[in-house]
Amino acid sequence: MWRAFLLPWTGAQCSEAKESLQPPFDMIQALMQVMGPGGLSQEIFKWLWNKSEPTGNGVEKIGHEAVKAWTAIYEKGFQPLLKIPQVGLTRVHQEKINRLADKFHAYQATVSEFQMLLSVPMQKSFADMREELDRLREKGEPAQDFKVHYGTWIKVLENHYMSLFRSQEYRLALSRLLNETAAFRVTGNDVMMEFLEFLPIPTNREMDEIYKELYTLKKQTKESAKKISKLESALAKKEIQ
């Protein structure tokens, strides 16, 4: 998979994929030398490299596969490391930092997935335009003005986006994106507040408590002021009578 993913940058053509899958030098060996003999990191790298399988599909599929493969690698290779129980004085802080790293990955993966979903209508519109141009060529009709083709393309693109946006797949992806963004932000805020507590600066949590109290007090004051005002005007009316 990884090799296939790297294919566009190696300059190899699809037909030559099999032959060109081997990197120009033994990267795995080179990196192992850098990392030193043995150890978990080397094992992970070996596993990462061996996990890859050439697919020979289009860029869209390769990209999608790459995200999926990376998520699988992360969940099996990295996530357990972040979940190793922390001990000692810095246990709480370290745990929060690890959680942030984990949430960051989930956020990144969701963003990638979402971006890829958004790129699908673009690819489809290009494919449609290609078909349209092929049709014109087969008919022997000359190509129209650039603006005409642009107008057609933007309409096609718009329609593909509308189809995507109405799909269940998109709605789920959007929900996931928002949830993961929120989760990452909350965890990030948590870590930030952990550090801010060392400084003479109020944290958001502390400010929110004050805001909540302020909100409640203001509301009560406003309601009381309204009631008093009504009573005063009622009293004034009575006095007039």
């Binding site: 141009l133 060529r137 190509a143 003005d145 718009e158 909350v186 805020n189 805001y211 509301k219």
Partner: protein, 420 residues
């Protein structure tokens, strides 16, 4: 050369022919972009007559004789800013109202900060809005005022009118969503499975930039690509650039929305659709639409991709008023306020409608007569909602389609054809 390259080459050859023109345009655009540009928005002078927390009440000084005695209060949405109603000279809803002798007030919701995150719909409707309405009533020494709500501000106005009907003389709702159970708009689909509580927990308020991103995603082909292609093509046109920049200024001037308010709005309205069923609760009181007994003019756009016709056209059949009118305009969500064609009819229609109802007793008989003459008009099928923003177009002169779900009412609805 392969089969694919041939037509592409043709296109590019054609395109290159236009390059010389493009070069000239770019050279000319240098003068436009580097020269003085008038891109200021909201230029109509006003006085701030009331302030409370972050909100301000704008009062526009009348430029002509008062033709509608009862002042009109405009309540804009919490999303984006009310400056849209005064975007550019000559295409300003505010100026049109003033020129037609309307004593105009407008709520400026300001820019909520983190301390505003706990403000609810109740605080906006029964708090700020009620205080503003009371202020205007006291100032003019009148029992009730005219109220016009826009988009989310329209929903607030519906809620307000149901909770305080004695304070509202006439209600005008424009592109105001009231029925959220529709598949016409993408927002309605997207919000169904959304857990907004998590976003609010994370951000405190709903970030304006996040909302803007969502709005751009409603139609990226037009709003992210085509719009800027059009900008490039017209870079040498000073007036075009000025108007374009004004619109950009407005679109990306997006205050955050108070967290609790947007959470309640999404959950109670978009997800549970409580408002149209008269089951929504605000400040401990049920919002019963039957309490809306004042005349109601309900205006919406045919090509609105944010608040589609299906989100608006049920309202008139659910309120308690005998005097209701639906008006569907062939334009988009923003085009209804800024397109020159729409402006020629949108504001005059409202002013004329208000004038007719200046004297309640007099209007009652007029309305009954109108109702007898007009009756229910045949309704036209709504076209699919396109994603143009802003969409410009003429008024249809057609009434909106009525929902099959709406019960046949004995009372007469004045569903007139707009005098296009």
């Amino acid at each position: 050369m392969n089969a694919w390259e041939m037509p592409v080459n043709d296109i590019m050859t054609n395109w290159l022919k236009g390059v010389e023109n493009a070069r000239e345009r770019i050279l000319k655009s240098k003068d436009v972009l580097l020269g003085p540009l008038d891109t200021e928005i909201a230029k109509t002078p006003y006085d701030v007559v009331y302030e409370e927390d972050r909100i301000k009440l704008k009062h526009y000084r009348l430029t002509s004789g008062k033709q509608v005695q009862t002042p009109l209060l405009i309540v804009y949405a919490l999303i984006n800013r009310e400056t849209m109603l005064d975007l550019q000279p000559g295409r300003s809803v505010v100026q049109h109202f003033m020129n037609m002798g309307v004593d105009l007030y407008m709520v400026d919701w300001g820019y909520p900060t983190r301390k505003d995150r706990y403000l609810t719909i109740d605080d906006h409707v029964n708090g700020y809005m009620d205080n503003v309405v009371d202020f205007i009533r006291d100032r003019h020494g009148i029992q009730n005022i005219n109220l016009m709500g826009i988009c989310m501000g329209g929903t607030f106005s519906i809620i307000y009118s149901a909770l305080h009907p004695e304070k509202i003389k006439n209600l005008v709702t424009t592109v105001a969503p009231s029925n959220f159970d529709t598949d016409q708009g993408l927002l309605h689909l997207w919000t169904r499975g959304m857990d907004l509580g998590r976003i609010i927990e994370a951000y405190g308020n709903m970030p304006g930039d996040l909302l803007n991103l969502c709005f751009l995603l409603l139609n990226p082909a037009r709003l992210v690509i085509d719009k800027y292609i059009s900008f490039f093509e017209n870079m040498d046109d000073k007036q075009f650039i000025e108007n374009f920049v004004r619109m950009e200024k407005w679109i990306f001037d997006s205050p955050d929305v108070p967290g609790e308010t947007i959470r309640q709005f999404i959950e109670d309205c978009y997800q549970k659709n409580l408002l149209i069923q008269s089951r929504m609760e605000v400040g401990g009181n049920r919002v019963d639409l039957k309490n809306i007994t004042m005349p109601l003019l309900n205006i919406y756009s045919k090509f609105d991709h944010l608040v589609p016709p299906g989100a608006c056209d049920l309202l008139t059949s659910k309120v308690g008023s005998r005097d209701v009118e639906d008006l569907c305009i062939e334009t988009g969500h923003i085009g209804i306020y800024v397109s020159s064609k729409s402006q020629k009819q949108f504001t005059p229609k409202i002013v004329e409608w208000l004038k007719q109802r200046e004297n309640a007793a007099e209007s009652e008989s007029t309305i009954d007569a109108e109702a007898e003459n007009a009756g229910r008009q045949t309704v036209a099928e709504a076209e699919p909602v396109s994603g143009h923003w802003p969409e410009q177009g003429p008024m249809t002169g057609k009434t909106a389609p009525e929902s099959k779900a709406s019960p046949k009412k004995k009372k007469t609805l004045v569903k007139t054809r707009a005098a296009a």
